[in-house]
Symmetry: C2
């Protein structure tokens, strides 16, 4: 999840850890920004895996080991890996945060994958809604007033999210009405200025 977001951002341009975190915050909604406590370990892991490089600006040979600014840059392998991540759905894509991260890079995501993600997320939220709904109608009467209020508010929110997702899905479908043909190669519906390159489209085995 963090891997995905970091690669996505570094694919746009090289960055410092600090700026990365700010961009992450802007992307995922100000609150819900990862802390450095997870960001730096992630960067190191990504560097070890070869997806990114870490340009440490030649340490001035002074007496104290300076803590230099480090610029992180995506590698060719990293782009390849990102393209794979963008093309698959993965189980995290439907929870709150994972969905947010996927949505943030929808412009680089194949149109059919976009639909899969939106529909999966909607299914997930509908389950929440139904669970909440039946819990309320079962126990609603003998629930504490405040607890009931909380659950009703939660039900409302979740209900609105389902409607929002439905709108997104519909607009996604109307902009891409070729649901019919089911042609052999579902090719990338992506803008030409995209940085990533897509692997071959693959059928489910």
């Amino acid at each position: 999840m963090l891997d995905f977001a970091v690669l996505g951002l570094l694919n746009e341009s090289p960055m410092h850890g600090y700026e990365l975190r700010k961009r992450l915050a802007a992307l995922l909604g100000a609150f819900r920004a990862f802390s450095y406590g997870s960001l730096y370990p992630t960067l190191r892991r990504l560097a070890e895996a070869g997806w990114i490089t870490e340009d440490a600006p030649l340490d001035a040979p002074g007496p104290r080991a300076r803590r230099g600014k480090r610029v992180y840059r995506i590698t060719a392998e990293g782009k390849e890996h990102l393209a794979e991540l963008l093309a698959e759905v993965g189980p995290d894509a439907f929870d709150e945060d994972g969905f947010g991260a996927r949505l943030a890079f929808f412009a680089s995501t194949r149109s059919d994958v976009r639909l899969q993600i939106l529909e999966g997320r909607r299914r997930r939220v509908e389950e929440q809604r139904d669970g909440l709904r039946s819990a309320l109608s079962r126990a609603g009467e003998r629930l504490d007033r405040y607890t009931r209020e909380l659950h009703e508010h939660g039900l409302d929110s979740v209900d609105r999210e389902v409607r929002w997702l439905t709108e997104l899905i519909e607009s996604e479908r109307s902009e891409r009405p070729q649901t019919r043909p089911r042609s052999g190669s579902e090719r990338a519906a992506v803008r030409p200025d995209e940085h990533v390159t897509y692997p071959e489209s693959r059928e489910e085995p």
Copy 2:
């Protein structure tokens, strides 16, 4: 946070860990139920602190060590501790989960503390709203369409939550219009069938 919720539930009646988790889930909203991985360690911690007891049903002296059903029960000290927790606000009371937990036990919470919690939570959510709002008006135009959509939906939700909290606050105030007198002892406004006993009302030092 978990401590608080567990003590609150055990204050109503003794329970197994399993049932505790179910009640927790019902209370906090089905999703957002703590896993056993945090529940059992918490129970052990609470038992060590003396807030609860752990009734292990005398192991049948058979060859294999049976894993018996354990009934957890709140102690007198636990009730005292719970009353303290209920009377103070604490910094977790304003985040999503902490607030939910506090709300779930509002019936056992002093009316003035209720107001503090509601208002603190509202302030928190207003900050989120304003941050989101200004981020959107600053960068809204050059934002990805999907990202903007996500942030606008988030802003909507947060906005509605503020309004919801305002309603709760107003109804809280109207049911307790003695905001005026500022009499020496802010006494418990609590139903007589409550299990907890309140410590002396204390003025801020």
